[in-house]
């Protein structure tokens, strides 16, 4: 079974639909998304939370579509492009506004490997992270789980163990969390010839559509929570036991996240000291 691993990261893309808490009208939405202070914060999350795990994947054989609006202003667009310039797996795609799912599918479609039988797809918000062995685990688990795919060959791998990093007014905290079918940590293994993409399936209703294998054996994702979040995380239903003092080490090992460095970068972004 040939598996292509493909992620989608949307960086403040002005589009129609998608956001739960943004203005409807595209001009107002663009202005809100491209507010410089907001972009500074989001770039700090992306650089210090999402990017390190991508850059240090133990299996480098994956593609990440980094979708931006074609009009993402400078200096942000340049900074973002420079951050990922050395990573051949990250493909920046600039798009004009359009219906959200359609522009995401249009960005992913040309990068689908025609030789792949299964395209294992995940979404990664710019304030979330995947563990360094994420791609490797996907390949390993899919190779072994081939026989439990559903009728149309689809299977969801739900890596349900992770950390929630919260920015509470500049103070960063990290808490262990066990959560099924959250967007971070959820991988949809879909047959390539089905032509379906990750956003065609609402993650919270995935249980209706395909078999789900929830795995709680390894810490696999980080979800960011902060004032600028589109979908607020109201409560953590369940955590797991880990000494608080161990968490920074685990974040570093599993995700290459430096929590102190991130806190400093976030503070700099807040104060407008992040120019470079």
């Amino acid at each position: 079974m040939t598996v292509q691993v493909m992620g989608l990261c949307r960086f403040s893309v002005p589009s129609l639909g998608a956001f739960q808490s943004m203005p409807e009208e595209i001009g107002a939405r663009r202005a809100a998304l491209y507010d410089p202070r907001r972009l500074a914060r989001r770039l700090a999350w992306f650089e210090h939370v999402a990017l390190p795990g991508l850059a240090l994947q133990t299996d480098p054989d994956f593609t990440l579509v980094l979708l931006i609006g074609a009009d993402l202003p400078e200096p942000w667009q340049g900074r973002l492009r420079r951050l990922v310039a050395d990573l051949p797996q990250i493909r920046v795609v600039a798009t004009a506004p359009g219906e959200h799912r359609a522009i995401c599918a249009a960005a992913m479609r040309p990068l689908v490997d025609p030789a792949a039988q299964i395209v294992a797809q995940f979404r990664l918000d710019d304030d979330d992270a995947i563990s360094r062995n994420f791609v490797q685990r996907i390949r390993r688990d899919l190779a072994l789980a081939e026989r439990v795919q559903g009728r149309h060959g689809a299977l969801a791998l739900d890596y349900a163990k992770g950390f929630l990093i919260r920015d509470e007014g500049g103070r960063l905290t990290a808490a262990p969390v066990l959560a099924q079918n959250w967007a971070p940590g959820l991988v949809l293994a879909l047959p390539r010839d089905g032509g379906r993409f990750v956003l065609d399936y609402p993650h919270h209703q995935i249980w209706k559509r395909m078999p789900v294998l929830s795995l709680v054996d390894q810490i696999m994702f980080v979800r960011g929570a902060h004032d600028g979040n589109d979908s607020r995380i109201l409560r953590v239903e369940r955590g797991f036991r880990v000494p608080q003092e161990e968490i920074p080490r685990l974040l570093a090992e599993r995700f290459a996240i430096d929590l102190d460095g991130f806190a400093a970068a976030l503070a700099a972004a807040e104060e407008g000291r992040d120019g470079r």
């Binding site: 688990d141 072994l144 789980a145 081939e146 026989r147 439990v148 559903g150 009728r151 739900d158 349900a160 066990l178 959560a179 099924q180 249980w207 209706k208 559509r209 395909m210 078999p211 789900v212 294998l213 929830s214 795995l215 709680v216 054996d217 239903e237 369940r238």
Partner: protein, 273 residues
Amino acid sequence: MAAVKDGIRPQIIGLMRFSYPSIGGFAQEAPDIAALEARLYDPARLERRFQLFEKLAMTALLAQSDGDFRMVFLIGRSLPAPWRDRLNDAIAPLKGARVAALAPMQHYLAIRKAFALATSEAASHVTGFRLDDDDALDIDHIARMRRVVAALLPVVGQEVPLVTGCNRGFFLERKAGGNEIYEVVEKTPIGLGLAMTTPRGVSENIFRRNHRFCGQFYNTFTDAEAPAFIRTVHADNDSDPHASGRIEKSRWEEVAPQLEAHFPFTADFLRGF
């Protein structure tokens, strides 16, 4: 006990609590054992339960396409003889049936004892599943369970618990003027047919946690493809009859082909019994 590769020989064991007076197992807790037994062994109640058990649960167990499993019926030692005889008669045709008659004890302890009594020394792993006396499995349930467990043990590892189940099925609501049928897709695992696989000798089993939260404690696989269960909803139900996910009342004629393909019942029978 067909061996799968790597020397893994899982033994499938179902466990059904049949009006067992446990200490602390029922949502509607009775104040003392005597009162609990009086309620559980009320002849009218037992007659109603036997009706569902004999017509639905046992019929579906006997119709399994894969008959290589044990089924343990956990009863109280105090179950009056006529009912115990009736139970023995009902389960006699089922090859793997065993009765575990226990004194009242804490619920999970009794469950562990019952599983232990049924476990074979030859097994490397135990796949223990739960089934209530008023519910029915689809005819491929055991076969699917065996297949899924064999496919997934190499993924999750042989030493840690693996939970497997099916989230698509039917609710059958008993009504005086004709039963109603609902198509259901559960969001969180339904207990019916839910299985936990562990190495033999591990006392943890599928009754350890609230089945709805299994995905937060164990590596958990659920599929929603084949209709895998019929759950009856009736006045005696001990727990909440609502589905966790999608539930739609269906027309009998629309679901009849599915029911008849996956269960040993005709739609007319289910509607009218």
